[in-house]
Amino acid sequence: MRIFDKLFVYVFLFMAVFTFVSCGSEEEKSEDPVPDLEVVLIKDLAAPNDVIDRETGQVVEERPFVYFNLAKGEVVSEDETWDIAIKGLAIRVNGGTSGEGDAAAAVVSGIFEELMEVPAGTEFAQDNAPNLAIPMGSGNGWYSYNPQSHIVSPIAGRIILVRTHEGKFTKLEILSYYKGAPAEPDAFRDQSATYTFRYVHQPNGSERF
């Protein structure tokens, strides 16, 4: 019996080592050949909304959209190539009724770091005013509005996928709507419509991040 015991131990050890090694090699094989993509963090991008008379609902002073090029990672003018444009709570894409480009977007659910590729079946849409590809309205798109505290919060787990004007893919997560990304914002004191967001842009045209 003792021989069998020993044999069993050897076989077990051999299998354990083999499993370990083979797992390791598989992991190596599956490692993405694409070099690590940079996570771009944009802090405090102010995109104030129009001034609206609360009683009549009329726009008193119109403000411009803030245009953003994701590949460059910077604010551009309306005449340059842009991917998204922000004003107040609205985020437009350069496509459909909002722009002449072919950009499109979709909102998906998940964790930013874990989202390694565009999920199968994701339907990218273009703006069809007043319906935007990134929907407006509390709970519909990227934000939630609390009518008691008047706070706008980016919904955790909502990721915006953008197909840029060049047909490249970007995953984007909005982190805060208030200047300085305060942990507990105050709707009356903190400057709103001031975005902090991060994104990963895949320049090679693949759907993987």
């Binding site: 609360r54 964790i111 319906n131 935007l132 309205g137 980016p154 955790a156 787990g157 982190l175 942990a183």
Partner: protein
């Protein structure tokens, strides 16, 4: 009406067949005192100890020794109940929202709810004899709304001779209460009348800002009751209650720099009339015919303070008419059959409602109480409700009590409860022209969608057409199991564990998206929730006149759909410091908002008849509870989403001189517990003094 007709026929047939020689021993055993007789659980008089279902009674003595004036104050001090604020003060029983508790006055339902809450401060305690709180569903007797429990307010019965009382009270926040009542009774006739006026100046936590945190209001309650013994077997009762309230809210909208000042005038009225004919056909058969009418109306106007122009105006009128037959048949010592039926007509007219078809409903119920052995008894019953606007409901109930030992009683029950869709959920027709969204009740939906579609306003449907428009009643199954230990005359201890499983909860949901990007909302049967926990209560009477009680409730109340979403990894949260997003863990989910996992109370009453001293000291603990979602994932999962737990302490002392004059002083919320941000409706410390004069004769 046909149902009533058949019922009456049935009543008379049964009575003539069985009424002859059956002698019944009353279901109340010898030695029972009036203090432990209740009517809510079975609709006939029962001794509380033999009931197989959990019921709490608050006596007149306790109400007076506590200096309580309104129903919300009284319920907030009871074990297992919580008074919550949502469009008024409502009561939560076994963790279920105020929408699911039926409030009765002498067995007849009070109407008039705003967003599901019946404002409890509408009910004055001045004419209340006792309050019975029945926990767990009783739809088997009472139908809709009796899903979490039933609160039955039993009013005073005039004693022989005449009696008059005058009382007045004044306290902090210019709160005053005046009551005058009088009664007369002889062998055949009894009459009772009451007038009460209550006023408060409200209070303000933020004096720098325009408006008041709680608005001033005053109200009047008038009551009239007359009972006449037509013969030795027949009695006719008429009672009437009228309530009127006027409040003057003021508040500011928007930031300090750009404040829109609003002042308002709000009126609430309700009245109810009851005519009750009782006849005892024989010793074994009693019958009642009850006619009840109630109306409720609100009228609110909000104006801009500076310009005086109208900001908002709305009204709401509700009408309720019921005819009911209630019969008791005592087959022998061991069997009591209670059965009956009724017809209800309900109507509403209001701003934002189109012409609403009145609701018509009919019901039949039967209940069999069976004393299986001297140590075991059971209740089995069911009620069938039909309704003109939604599906019929069958609500059964089964309850069992077993006396394991003279000092140990066990009880268990299983029952179904339901709540019918209300007028708002069926008929609301609200188009917000400014913002551009619409809310349509389920019955208005098909037509409303068609209209919007033909105008080319619908961009897309969010729910398949077959899923919408057909609203079902909300339904529950509940299980209660408990034990009562009375090891000593002076001491008792009870425990009751409960589980409520509620499905088809009606919730607001976007149904379609309009071309302007806004939504069309309606009501759908969506979520399932459960509440479960245990309630402990003990009473100790160390000396005559001294009574100490302690109560505690442990409660878990959760949404099954949220639990499933968390399990599937579909619920996220963001760390407010690092801004990283992660999945919410199952143990972080705190359940439904507004539910305290722990709550309890400790009360000491001392009432001494010789010296005429009555006093009470009551501590009420409400453990922490969630108030709202702050991290935008719709659920309670973060520490800053909780209101910290707190204790309020109340005390009162009274002395009666010469059996005529009674002087009382008291303090509510002695510790001055406030939370202006999260509980703005809770005032600080309130002092008061009261005087009562009482005269009686033969």
């Amino acid at each position: 009406m046909r149902v009533i007709f058949y019922l009456l026929i049935l009543t008379f047939c049964l009575s003539s067949t069985y009424a002859q020689d059956l002698v019944h021993k009353d279901s109340i055993r010898e030695g029972a005192t009036l203090a432990n007789i209740v009517v809510t659980a079975t609709r006939n008089e029962k001794q509380i100890e033999v009931l197989p279902v959990p019921i709490t009674v608050v006596s007149r003595e306790q109400i007076e020794a506590s200096g309580l004036l309104r129903l919300n104050e009284l319920l907030a001090e009871q074990t297992g109940l919580a008074v919550t604020e949502d469009h008024g003060s409502g009561v939560q029983i076994q963790g279920l929202s105020p929408d699911y508790t039926l409030i009765l006055i002498d067995g007849e339902p009070l109407i008039g709810r705003t967003a599901g809450t019946l404002e409890l401060s509408r009910i004055a305690l001045a004419d209340v004899e006792r309050i019975e709180i029945l926990k767990g569903p009783s739809s088997s007797l009472y139908g809709s709304e009796a899903l979490a429990g039933v609160i039955n307010i039993i009013t005073k019965k005039p004693k022989q001779g005449w009696k008059t009382t005058l009382s007045g009270r004044y306290g902090t926040n210019q709160t005053s209460d005046f009551t005058a009542d009088g009664s007369y009774a002889n062998e055949k006739l009894s009459v009772y009348a009451l007038l009460n006026r209550y006023q408060t100046g409200g209070f303000d936590f933020n004096p720098e800002r325009f408006g008041q945190t709680v608005a001033p209001f005053h109200n009047y309650t008038a009551r009239f009751k007359v009972a006449y013994q037509l013969s030795s077997r027949t009695e006719l009762d008429f009672s009437s209650r009228i309530f009127y309230e006027n409040q003057n809210p003021s508040f500011g909208i928007g930031s300090e720099a750009d404040l829109l000042k609003i002042v308002g005038d709000g009126r609430v009225q309700d009245y109810n009339h009851k005519l009750d004919l009782r006849h005892r056909f024989s010793d074994s058969f009693k019958s009642q015919l009850r006619l009840y009418h109630s109306a409720y109306s609100t009228n609110n106007e909000l104006r801009e303070f500076e310009s005086g122009s109208m900001y908002d105006a709305n009204f709401f009128n509700q009408n309720f008419l019921r005819i009911e037959s209630l019969n008791e048949y005592y087959h022998s010592d061991a069997h009591i059959l209670t059965f009956g039926g009724g017809v209800v007509r309900e109507a509403v007219e209001a701003t934002r409602y189109n012409d609403v078809t009145p609701f018509l409903s009919q019901y039949l119920f039967a209940q069999h109480e069976w004393e299986i052995s001297p140590r075991m008894n059971s209740i089995i019953g069911a009620r069938f409700d039909t309704h003109s606007e939604y599906n019929s409901q069958l609500s059964p109930k089964l309850a069992l009590r077993y006396e394991l030992a003279p000092w140990l009683n066990l009880r268990a029950s299983v029952a179904a409860g339901f709540k019918a869709p209300d007028f708002r959920q069926l008929y609301l027709n609200f188009d917000n022209a400014v913002v551009g969204y619409a809310v349509l009740g389920a019955a208005e939906l098909a037509e409303g969608l068609q209209r919007l579609e033909s105008q080319g306003q619908i961009a897309q449907m969010l729910f398949p057409a077959e899923q919408i428009g057909n609203l079902r009643a909300e339904r529950s199954w509940a299980y209660n199991i408990g034990a009562v230990f009375t090891p000593h005359q002076k001491f008792s201890f009870s425990i009751n564990a409960f589980h409520n499983e509620v499905r088809d909860l009606i919730e607001t949901q976007p149904i379609a998206q309009k071309q302007n990007g806004q939504f069309v909302f309606s009501y759908l049967n969506l979520n399932s929730v459960f509440t479960q926990g245990a309630e402990l209560e003990s009473h100790y009477t160390p000396l005559k006149g001294l009574r100490i009680s302690a109560g505690y409730q442990y409660l878990i109340a959760k949404d099954r759909d949220v639990i499933a979403a968390i399990e599937n990894g579909e619920v996220f949260k963001r760390d407010s410091e690092t801004l990283r997003t992660r999945r919410v863990r199952a143990d972080e989910y705190g359940g439904l908002f507004n539910r305290s996992r722990h709550s309890g109370n400790l009360k000491i009453f001392y009432c001494e008849s010789k010296t005429g001293i009555e006093s009470s000291l009551r501590a009420v603990w409400r453990g922490r509870y969630g108030f709202g979602d702050l991290n935008a994932n719709q659920i309670l999962d973060n520490d800053n989403e909780y209101v910290p737990g707190f204790v309020t302490l109340h005390a009162a002392i009274a002395k009666t001189f010469k059996q005529k004059y009674r002087l009382q002083m008291g303090c509510d919320n002695f510790l001055n517990q406030t939370n202006s941000r999260l509980i703005p409706t809770m005032p600080g410390r309130l002092w008061y003094a009261a005087l009562r004069l009482q005269f009686e004769g033969n």
